[in-house]
Amino acid sequence: MKPRVAIFDLTSCDGCQVEILNLEDHLLDILGKIDLVNFRIGKEVKEPGPYDIAIVEGSVSKEEEIEKIKKIRDDSKILIALGTCATHGGLQSNIHFMDENEVKKAAYNDKHPQQTRDIKAEPLSKYVKVDYSIRGCPIDKWDFVKVLKQLLIGKLPKEDNNPVCVECRFNENVCQFEEKGKCLGPMTHGGCNAVCPSNNQPCDGCRGPLEDLNLKAGIRIMKENGVSDEEILKMVRKYTGVDELYNKIEELVKNGNN
């Protein structure tokens, strides 16, 4: 019997699910191997659980989403977080470092009043056990295929834990540290084929910090290169600031001795 796979979304832009649709012909091959029973943006069918594999895009940003993710977890053998919002809270997790009222004022007005009971955007792992994370904003569609194939073959995928720099060097890029004085590549999970530096943009860390990161070195070098404290903080917090590996970032950046 083909495994029952369901794709869900919480608070997100749906961009990661669009990446799945972008697989086009390959998607049809994949559909031959699985029973896709829920995929809001791709299919009309909506079957209840249990599921063999649930894939969830988006952060938990509303109270009702806490219940939703817990239900998905209960219904699923394997739960995969899809994309930066699901793995780290994503762009909307910036609210952790901003004035909440100001954000609300900017987001809602008389025409568009607030209708949900929102909470600060959090990764899925804050509320449920996540079996594997497909990182990135958006995900790399081939990364998705790779993970799915491994799950279908009966292997829980293992992360490489390589920094972005590895693939950046494979692509023989100009180092953005050298070019622009800043880059989160050495501290960030690769697997994206170094897409930003390969297009002459510093890595802004969407795949999250490596467990092995050397934050002190990163801050020191960026500061030496004239990058301001605010800019370093902004870069690090853009997508994955809630990661506990970045807990001490403010202290480290403000500490002049780095």
């Binding site: 073959i153 009966g154 292997k155 829980l156 293992k158």
Partner: protein, 262 residues
């Protein structure tokens, strides 16, 4: 040109259920490994990993597999008749010729008894070359015993001692760690070689006990575990100091191991 990375496809001939998460698989193969050598085993789609040979035979190779990594988990799920990829044998193996004329103390802890079994089978076939043979096996509990089907035969031929870490209902044999059992056994260091396979901590404390008895590091041989991918000294992962564990080892005299630092 032969391709060192290309495995041979072999059918699993027999599967022996050892414990709840350990199996021994047998493939027909005439490479007849030296005691202590290993093979690279592939389950295609999952990957490749090194497994020590657990048998000494010109007709087949046994490999004892515990379900820890993705490849071993996949092997555990295979059955008789399934195909796996096999390359090898690799590594130096125990220098059995050098041990000729000596009394042997063979010590195995947990899955470490698998490579030890190759040594025992070798000694059985070359019995006249060696003097007195003591076997010391240690496991967490009787549920973890490996190669139970061999024990009666070994008890007849050798001094066979088995111990478990903690008391276990229904077990009336030895309880305690291998090192203390060896200390209590009364064996003397003279003209003896010790072969140890097991977890690093067990090797360490066993050597400490052996030193108390009077053994020197030159008398002790161990098999090391490292991350290995190619098995032939190319991929680099298993390098410790100026040695490749896969090619220069996995068997080392303890005197050499002491100088190896990461």
């Amino acid at each position: 040109m032969t391709n060192i990375y290309k495995p041979e496809l072999l059918r699993i001939d027999k599967v022996f259920e050892e414990t709840k998460d350990i199996k021994t698989i047998r493939v027909k193969d005439t490479s007849n490994p030296k005691p202590g050598q290993f093979y690279e085993v592939s389950v295609f789609g999952i990957g490749e990993a090194p497994f020590g040979s657990a048998s000494y035979s010109p007709d087949f190779v046994d490999m004892t597999v515990r379900s820890v990594g993705s490849v071993s988990k996949a092997i555990i799920n295979l059955s008789q008749g399934d195909k796996i990829g096999v390359r090898g044998p690799y590594g130096n193996g125990f220098p059995m010729d050098k041990f000729k004329g000596k009394d042997l103390v063979i010590v195995g802890g947990g899955t470490g008894v698998a490579p030890i079994r190759t040594v025992i089978e070798y000694v059985e076939k070359h019995r006249q070359d060696y003097g007195e043979v003591h076997l010391f096996f240690g496991f967490r509990s009787p549920e973890e015993f490996l190669f139970k089907y061999d024990y009666d035969r070994w008890k007849e031929k050798f001094n066979f001692t088995i111990t478990i870490d903690k008391p276990y209902e229904g077990w009336s044999g030895n309880v305690g760690f291998l090192n203390s059992i060896i200390e209590q056994s009364g064996i003397k260091a003279e003209n003896r070689i010790v072969i140890i396979c097991g977890p690093p901590i067990m090797i360490k404390v066993t050597v400490q006990s052996l030193e108390k008895i009077g053994f020197t590091d030159e008398q002790v041989y161990v098999s090391l575990e490292r991350m290995m991918q190619c098995g032939v000294g190319k991929c680099g992962h298993c390098m410790v100091g100026n040695k490749y564990v896969c090619k220069d080892g996995p068997v080392f005299c303890y005197k050499e191991v002491k100088g190896m630092v990461d």
